[in-house]
């Protein structure tokens, strides 16, 4: 069987993967209906493939992919937990997929109820007062949250507040989002304990500071012990606190950003709340805010009057819309299902178990790899392959070697402040068995680095695809095959 063809190479003239009803209205000339000038001259060179071959093509492609159900996927910062099948079933119910966003309110009460209840649960989990489900992903939530931050200062006539402080450990989306809202980014260094340096923070503060963006636990997997003090400092300086909720899997039922002092939060439903990652998305990035910021939330907001839900657009302080319609509903629905399935106790158990798993791995690997911060971690931790450097082995090599053992590697080279970083997040859905075996393999690789570094440096050796020429790809980009498809 030929396994490495593009769909365009499978295409055969006249083959069909579709069927359509015959036209049951009198046919008119397309020329006349559209006007000759408007007509397409050369048809788009799309493939022509029978249904059987469409399916085989994608099944074949799928077999070149690795999902959570394929095996352990400890991709740090991404919370690659199990995606419950019941949620997939429910998200595909006709009653939810086949609803038009502009149907009248009375015909979409089900969707609105799901959204409104999900908002309630997210409030409870975050300690925030109001929620908007509109943002489509974490970064989009950041953007929205920062718009609110900016709007707040604008309304307070503090137009000079155009700087946002962001730790050097932060995810790249944080500074990028800040830029997209016209903020200047002030980088704050992480100290030796993996925490914020409070003195340095204080030194940065003046009346140009709009606020602080923080991930807590941080991308190092470390919980900021002084968070209350930090929030007081920022608030006293007239700034707001933004909470990047990507790491919420560590704290559910234990603490919440509201208690920590944050004003704005985003959630990643595709992380903490088990919605599938879809090969890169779609996700869902709702935001929550404290009461004083509620009026700035995007329109519309879901309200309820006399047991009827409705969408409220009349909000003159709102920042406006950040996306068409109301959010990625089918992901919100999955999150609803997840939260209801876990329940209050279950969600707390999630965080406890996730944190235990991470600490367990970290501890068991500390004699084999450098652990940059000698303290307990939360739901993930970062190790450094710097001790392996002397054998000529990099974090990249170790990651690739894990492929040989059938694992999805951890996140590589992030956060940037850790040399040769490998960021490991096991999540709570993995068993001790799986984790023990992963630890064994990591130890084995550590030994290989010493004893047989070549096998690590040449990895992956057992996979269908070997290392790729990534540099070449970027130097002379081939971003589609339009040029080599025949019509």
């Amino acid at each position: 069987m030929k396994k490495d063809r593009l769909i365009f190479e499978i295409s055969k003239k006249g083959h069909k993967g579709y069927s359509l009803p015959k036209c049951d209205v009198p046919l008119k000339s397309i020329d006349k209906l559209l006007g000759k000038d408007n007509l397409r001259k050369n048809p788009a060179k799309l493939p022509e493939v029978s249904e059987n071959n469409v399916v085989r093509h994608y099944v074949n492609l799928s077999n070149k992919n690795y999902g959570v159900d394929s095996g352990f996927y400890p991709l740090g910062s991404c919370t690659m937990k199990y995606n419950p099948k019941i949620n997939e079933y429910i998200a595909r119910l006709d009653e939810f997929t086949n609803v038009h966003p502009y149907q009248s309110g009375s015909t979409v009460q089900g969707c609105l109820e799901i959204m409104s209840k999900t908002e309630k649960y997210l409030k409870d989990l975050s300690g925030m007062d109001e929620i908007s489900l509109q943002p489509a992903a974490g970064a989009h939530g950041e953007l929205t949250g920062l718009m609110i931050m900016k709007q707040y200062h604008i309304l307070n006539k503090q137009l000079n507040r155009n700087k946002v402080i962001i730790p050097d450990s932060a995810h790249g989306t944080n500074p990028a989002s800040a830029s997209m809202v016209g903020f200047e980014v002030i980088e704050l260094k992480t100290n030796k304990r993996g925490a914020l340096d409070i003195e340095e923070l204080k030194a940065l503060l003046d009346d140009s500071i709009a606020g602080l963006m923080l991930t807590n636990p941080s991308t190092l997997g470390i919980f900021e012990e002084n968070i209350v003090e930090i929030s007081d400092i920022i608030h006293n300086a007239g700034g707001l606190l933004y909470y990047d909720g990507a790491n919420m899997n560590a704290i559910m039922g234990i603490t919440n950003p509201g208690m920590m002092g944050f004003d704005i939060v985003h959630f990643n439903l595709h992380k903490t709340f088990s919605t599938p990652h879809g090969g890169g998305g779609p996700g869902s990035g709702p935001i929550g805010v404290k009461k004083h910021l509620e009026k700035f939330l995007p329109v519309p907001i879901i309200k309820n009057d006399n047991n009827q839900y409705y969408l409220d657009y009349k909000r003159d302080k709102s920042i406006g819309k950040v996306k068409s319609f109301y959010g990625n509903f089918s992901l919100i629905l999955r999150a609803y299902c997840y939260i209801r399935t876990m329940g209050r106790e279950g969600l707390k158990e999630v965080s406890k178990s996730a944190v235990l798993n991470a600490n367990y791995i970290m501890n068991r690997l500390k004699d084999y790899y450098h652990i940059p911060y000698n303290r307990s971690c939360m739901h993930e931790f970062v190790l450094s392959a710097k001790n392996q450097k002397k054998y000529g082995v990099s974090a990249f090599d170790i990651a690739k070697r894990l492929l040989d053992y059938g694992y999805h590697p951890p996140t590589m080279y992030f956060p940037l402040i850790v040399e040769e970083a490998l960021m490991i997040e096991p999540t709570e859905t993995e068993s001790k068995d799986t984790i023990d075996h992963f630890i064994e393999v990591m130890i084995k690789i550590a030994n290989e680095c010493k004893e047989n570094p070549e096998i690590v440096k040449s990895a992956p050796n057992n996979t269908y695809y070997k290392r790729l020429d990534e540099v070449g790809a970027a130097r002379k980009p081939i971003l589609n095959c339009c040029e080599y498809i025949s019509s």
Partner: protein
């Protein structure tokens, strides 16, 4: 024990013991005064209970399988081939994440590479990224890109662009101090060229139009393009990708950036999301575009392979200097579009487009003949059109709903001046019987 947390007490204890901690150590960095007592979320549901609960809620929705849908306004009831859900239900696709490890992600990478190719084919552009959240955010990103490239901050957007897109563009623009102005419709339902000419200047960075526009009308893109480029601005065109099966693509008519929503390419309505934003531009502008890009390369053994590329544009490398903050995108929706375009193929999408075209015109003529509606725009339309309903549109829709029909979009809800304007979409799924029934019902009752 919880079915999603595979750990018995014994294992928990062993793990703690092994690393020398007890339960209290787990959250020791979390100060006691920020601990919470307990959550207020309800107690856990079993699958049986969850299904009972959700089915009860689901029944409060009416769906377009129960209603005959003539509603569009940006989201359309097109046919979705059955293979799509079959394929995207493979865990290898939907449970994986961004292809950071190309050796075990060639499935996603190749599928997206093929997607990028197919969207380029449709739009007539040279480069397409791997996806954006939706058409509106893609437009806003296009505006940012265009303004950055031109180093200008004035933007003109047509009033015939979808109102939600206009709003999103304005929101994004507001915080980057963009000056966003609208230009008018003309009597034909398209861009008022004079108004555009009067508002555009060499300070304008980007001009945004949509074709077919919100009212269904096909714009004269090349004429607009001439004006825009004369003023050294970039032209951003929002398109319905299905229309490009039979309409000359914006790429051939002068668009610098073509964006749009790919919901029509096999994505469900989903009460508004997730849909799919696509983003296409020229090779020249490629290195300034937002979003992930998949490129072709080879593996060590010379096998053709694909990889995320030109990542120096992106947030995880360039941070605050990135071309966008986008990270997770709508990859699965792009996969859906890819399967859709593969399944329909070269001939199928022309057939779909033509069915929409023919049926929309059939209904248009019928409705005009009832004398209850009158034409408002004279220009050419594709699958959606605007008429003026002479009576109360809200009542009409309520009546239709009782007869299991989902009526058109009441434009006056958003543009109060357009009283009675009624926007109707007709897709290939509507039968002549559906339409005759619709019209008969109205004539008999109004």
């Amino acid at each position: 024990m919880n079915k999603y947390i595979p750990k018995n007490n014994d294992e928990t204890n062993k793990m703690m013991e092994k690393i020398g901690i007890d339960e209290n150590d787990l959250f020791k960095d979390v100060n006691i005064n920020i601990r919470i007592d307990k959550l207020n979320i309800p107690e856990e549901f079993s699958e049986i209970e969850l299904l009972n609960d959700v089915r009860k809620i689901a029944n409060k929705n009416s769906t377009i399988n129960q209603l005959t849908c003539f509603l569009g306004a940006g989201v359309y009831d097109h046919y979705i081939p059955s293979v799509i859900d079959d394929i995207i239900s493979r865990q290898e696709f939907y449970t994986s994440y961004t292809s950071y490890q190309p050796e075990i992600s060639q499935g996603n990478l190749q599928a997206i590479f093929e997607y990028q190719t197919m969207i380029c084919e449709l739009t007539g552009m040279e480069v397409t990224n791997s996806s954006m959240y939706d058409g509106a955010t893609a437009t806003a990103e296009a505006m940012n890109m265009a303004c950055n490239l031109k180093n200008k901050n004035k933007v003109l957007i047509s009033q015939s662009v979808h109102p939600e897109t206009v709003e999103v563009v304005k929101t994004y623009g507001k915080y980057l101090n963009k000056e966003i102005n609208e230009f008018q419709l003309d009597d034909f339902g398209g861009v008022n060229i004079e108004d555009l000419e009067s508002k555009i200047s060499d300070e304008t960075g980007a001009v945004i139009i949509q074709s077919p526009n919100f009212f269904g009308i096909i714009e004269n893109i090349s004429k607009i393009s001439d004006i825009v480029h004369k003023n050294k601005a970039y032209l951003i065109v929002i398109v319905d990708p299905l229309s490009l099966a039979i309409l000359e693509p914006a790429g051939s008519l002068g668009a610098d950036i073509t964006v749009g929503d790919g919901q029509v390419l096999g994505n469900s309505l989903n009460f508004g999301g997730p849909h799919l934003g696509f983003f296409s531009t020229s090779k020249k502008l490629m290195r300034k575009m937002p979003g992930r890009l998949v490129g072709e390369t080879k593996d060590k053994e010379g096998k053709r392979a694909f990889v995320l590329t030109i990542q120096t544009r992106e947030q995880h490398i360039r941070r605050e200097k990135a071309t966008s903050n986008i990270c997770s995108n709508h990859a699965l929706n792009a996969l859906i579009a890819s399967i859709y375009l593969t399944t329909m193929g070269k001939e199928g999408i022309i057939e779909v487009a033509n069915l929409c075209l023919q049926k929309a015109h059939y209904l248009y003529d019928l409705l005009i003949s009832t004398n209850l509606f009158e034409p408002v725009f004279k220009n050419t339309f594709f699958k959606e059109f605007t008429l003026k309903y002479k009576k109360d549109g809200k009542k009409l829709n309520e009546f239709l709903y009782k007869n299991n029909i989902l009526g058109g979009y009441l434009v006056e809800n958003i543009y109060p001046k357009m009283k009675g304007y009624y926007l109707i979409a007709v897709t290939e799924k509507r039968t002549r019987e559906d339409m005759d029934n619709f019209v008969n019902l109205i004539t008999r009752n109004f």
